[in-house]
Each structure stands twice: as C-alpha cells, then as structure tokens.
Amino acid sequence: MTDAPHRTAPGLEVNALHAGYPGRPVVRNVDLTVPAGQVVAIVGPNGCGKSTLLRSVARLHRPESGTVRVGGEDIWALSRRRAAHRVALLPQSPRAPEAVTVAGLVRYGRHPQQGLLRQWSKEDENAVRDALDATGTTELAGERLDRLSGGQRQRCWLAMVLAQHTPVILLDEPTSALDLGHAVEVLELVREVAAAGRTVVMVQHDLAAAARYADLLVAMKDGEVVARGEPSGTVDEALVKELYGLEADILSAPGDASPVVVPRIRRPV
C-alpha cells in the first residue's frame, strides 16, 4: 500500500450516497473513504452506476441523499467554482474547443482560478508548465490537439486536469480508448499523480489494470458496492462471476503477483 504522508484527513469521503433519475435509482447507499495520495479503481458492468457516482462526486449530478466531502468540506455546499478548486473530472470522451492547441487546452485547467482581475498569474503559468512536464507533453505544447494521436491526446487532457491543482481527481475510463502501450503510460502517470499527494478515483473496465495500479478496488453492481479492498485480495473467481456472470480463472502475474483475469471459453472456437 502506498501511504499518504502529506495529509491525515481523508482526501475523499462519500457517505450513504443515493443518486439517480426520477423513478430510477442508479447509485444506492455508497460509502467510500479514500486517504489522500491513493488511487481507487471503481469496476463493474456497464450501467452499474460507476459514472453517476463519479458525476455526483464531481458536483455534476445532484444526489438524492448522502454527502460528498473533500478535505472535510461538503462539495455540494460549495459554489460551482469553489468545487472546481477541489475536484477535477476527466469525462470519458471529452470534446475540446475546435482548433485548440495543447497549451491552450491545459490553460483552460486554470479557469477556476481566473477572473476579470486575475487573468493569467505566475501560478497559472507554473501550473500549466508543470502539468505539461508531468505528462510528457511539453514538446507538444504548440501542436493542435486534434492532430495528435489518441494516446497523446489523453495525456494532454490529463495535463489539463492536473493544472487545475485539485486534491481530488476523477477519471472516467481514462484508458478505454487507448492501446496497451498508451494505457500503461497513462496508468503510470496516475500513480505519479497520487504519489504527489493527490487522491485519484478512476472508473476502469480492465480488471487486471485496475488491480495493478489501484490501492483500493471498489466493485459495483446495480448501483451498490458489492466488494471492496486491496486489489489482490478482492479480485477472485466469485467476484468476476458476480459482476459479469463469467466463469474465469484468476492467474497471478509473474512480476508482482497481481491478479490477471482469464475468462474461460464457453464455446470451443
């Protein structure tokens, strides 16, 4: 387990959260406490409420009941802008302004800190530069975002989210559109971000990646948390069966003994 030396207060606390749409509960009674500096992966089948949970934490979807606290503060009691000082979200397939450059995109991450009298401070400049450095996109700064590859683009979006300088970062399937190499790159970046003291919550479809890069694994089904814990102890045959209705073998990776899920073939090929 990665410990969090920076803070003793939990980075993120979700208590008895219920959220959904009229007549259709999507998230039911979710509790989640994440210490600062940790990575949480939320896994589960499509439609299990992962994204709605993330949106409620990001102050985008008002929960029916329950609280979301960041550093002890109720995120839903804050203004939109103040909430954006505490939580940053990278949605699944975000749309960028047309013709925006990489540096231009990352600069938007500073928007919550800016106003008519504070349009481009030294801190803004440093935050953008650091975010570009941290994501290895410094050389791309002047390029147009829409001319980059998917992997490069995703790193740029991460840079924007990092530039926002929030204690909590939410990522909705940050690697689902990436090839293996770029996915690993992004996940390693996520570890670095957490090591710097930030709390990361990511929705992840790839159980093996979730198990390998997260400190805490949270499995959801039908809006409820059905399993949680340290990844290697949580991912087992029973969980895969419960979440996806699949028979699977769980292997142990040779390098670090993290669990690898291998679904059994149902029909011989």
């Binding site: 387990m1 975000p94 013709a99 349009q119 450095d133």
Partner: protein, 367 residues
C-alpha cells in the same frame, strides 16, 4: 505494491524544469501583485485598424447626403465654425443619427456574438429567439393604437423583444438547457408573433402602414439625441456585463461536463448570456428597426480578426458599428432617394450569407 511507486513524480516543491512557452499566444501579460491581465494583441491590432475605419465612416456618414455637402463644410459644421444652417444640419441631424447608428450596430454585433456562441452555430442570430418579431409587434401595436399613427418610443422595442424571448424560453422549457431547443421553439413563436404584427398592420390606413413599414425594414431616419442619449446609457450598462460574460463563454466550446467541472455554472451562464443578447438586440431594434444581417455578419468578421479561440465581444461591437455606419452612409449616396439602412444591409447581407455558407471555416471546417 511498493514496487509500483514511481521513481519520479511532480513534487510541488521540486525546482521547476518546465521549458514550454505556455503564455497565451498573441497576448501581452500585465501583472501587479496578485492581479494579472492578458491583453490580446491580435484583437487589439484588429481594434486599432477598425477604430480609424469607424472614424472615417463617421465622417463619410456625416458628409453623405443626397443634398450634398463638401468635406470642408462638414468639418466646419462639426467644429461649429460654419454658417449656422450647416452647423445645425451637421450637429443636430446628422451627427446624432450617425451615433445612434454606431450604437445600434455595436448592440447588434454583441447580441449576435452572444447568440452564436450560445448556440454553437455561426448562423444563429437574436431574431431566432423572437427578438425582431417581438419588438416589431410591440412598435406596430403602439403605432396602431396612437391617434397620430406615428412610430412611437424606442423602448417599446426591448420590451417587446424581452416578452417574446420570455415566451420562447417558457415554451422551450428553460434557457439553461440546450440552445438548440430554444432556437427551434423561437422560429415557431416568432412566426406567430410576426403574424400578429402583420394582422394589426393590415387593419391600419395607408399613412400609418407607410410609417411603420419604413421602420420595419430598418431605418435610422430622424434618430436624434432624444434616442441617442438613453441608448448610450443602456449600452453603458449592458456592454460591461457582456464583456464579463464573454470570458466564461469560451468554456461553452467544451462539452457540458468539462465546462461544469472547470467551475462554470452553465444554467446561469446560458440564461445570463441569452438575456443580455435579447436586451441588446431588442434595444437596437427599438431604435433602428429590425436591421438585417448585422448581428449575423459582425461576429463572423470579428472572429476572423480575433482568431478562432476567442469570443470576440469587443470586435463584434466595433465591426457591427462599422457595418451600420457604412450601410447608412451608402444608403444616402447610392440612390437618388435615400435607402433605409435595413435595405442596404439586406442587399449586402445576402451575398455575405452565401459566402459564409459555401466557404468552410478554416479552423472548424464546417459552415
């Protein structure tokens, strides 16, 4: 899992190694203590080119007339050194009309810029949410109701526009949601309101109908300081609000989730920007009648001048003012009888619209 710990991380206290030039391009940074400003040099350059153009147009517009006036006569009239008749014509008739035109153009330009940004569509104009038809119906109804049959007070325009826009927003189920639904509802509602205006006009005698008609094509004829002064006060109040909103409107170019997680209250922003657009356009229509194409063309031209990443509020104001000044001056010299400014903008606007439709934007690649 300790072996997964990174060897190198973005530790906040570490010395900064960033080398990228991250300052917004074409901008000068001004900093004082905790305050900082960005001066967009490209927009400033565009404004620096537009301002003298507007000044020249003012002089031309003051000069332009079917009765003819030389440059020296115009200047002496402006300075008050000419003969009293010339001074009176220049100062009391032509100058206030030119200034009213400039302000109408600026208001239409900003209103167009706000609507286009809200809708995410370069062809969206304030009249799509019922502004023109609402203002026209109000003015027509007042003219029909008055004993003289004259076109009445300018402030009926913004009131009619706001009422029409409020009906549109109510029918569309709120201004905070998608701009698209508001626009589609607006087309239906404004057709209906326009029909009501036509109905009232069809029952009037030729005299009233003629006066209303001249106004309804868009004309600055006879606009003096009694209109110009309140118009200036309204703009003095609305334009700073539009500038403040413009900074946030950039964020509408992201999808809603990103914009909201960057701290923008989208409902408030959309409702506020729409209200500003309606108030500005309604005021302009109340003063000058429903002058066509300025609200459409000014922001598109300003966008080209300012570059694709900005929301060009100031540029749209200047471009709109220049367009109206030019059209009004042209209308007074181009034909044997004075052409109302709205006729000139319509004639010029048709080809412009085709140009916009058939020439894809370099930056966005779409019309």
């Amino acid at each position: 899992m300790s072996d997964l710990k990174p060897t190198k991380g973005p530790v906040p206290s570490a010395p900064r190694v960033g080398t990228a030039d991250v300052t917004p391009p074409d901008s000068t940074v001004l900093r004082a203590g905790t305050l900082s400003w960005l001066l967009p040099s490209r927009s400033a350059l565009a404004a620096a080119l537009l301002l003298p153009a507007v000044a020249v147009l003012i002089a031309l517009a003051v000069m332009a007339s079917s009765t003819g006036m030389s440059l020296s006569e115009t200047v002496s009239g402006l300075l008050g050194t000419g003969d009293p008749g010339t001074v009176m014509i220049v100062r009391d008739f032509r100058l206030p009309r030119v200034f009213a035109g400039l302000m109408v153009g600026a208001a239409l330009g900003i209103a167009g810029c706000l609507t286009q940004t809200l809708a995410g569509n370069r062809l969206a104009t304030p009249d799509l949410v019922g502004v023109n038809d609402g203002a026209t119906a109000a003015v027509v109804a007042a003219a029909a109701g008055s004993t003289t049959g004259m076109v009445g007070d300018w402030w009926l325009g913004p009131i009619g526009a706001v009422v029409a826009a409020a009906i549109v927003v109510l029918c569309a189920g709120g201004a905070g949601g998608a701009g698209y639904r508001v626009l589609v509802t607006g087309i239906g509602v404004s057709t209906f309101i326009g029909a009501v205006g036509d109905l009232i006009m069809s029952r009037e005698n030729d005299n009233t109908a003629g006066g209303v008609f001249l106004w309804a094509v868009g004309s600055l004829n006879g606009r003096d300081w009694s209109v110009g002064t309140p118009l200036a006060l309204v703009l003095l109040f609305l334009v700073p609000l539009a500038l403040a909103v413009g900074h946030r409107l950039q964020l509408l170019r992201f999808d809603d989730d990103v914009a909201a997680s960057l701290g923008v209250d989208l409902r408030r922003l959309r409702a506020g920007a729409l209200a500003l657009a309606v108030a500005l356009a309604g005021t302009a229509v109340g003063v000058g009648g429903p002058i066509a194409f300025v609200a459409l063309a000014a922001p598109i031209l300003a966008q080209r001048l300012a570059g694709p990443t900005r929301v060009p509020i100031t540029g749209s104001a200047l471009t709109g003012a220049a367009l109206i000044a030019a059209a009004d001056a042209l209308g007074r010299v181009a034909a044997p009888v004075e052409l109302p400014v709205g006729v000139v903008t319509s004639v010029l606007g048709g080809p412009f619209l085709l140009w916009v439709l058939f020439r894809p934007d370099r930056a966005t690649g779409k019309a």
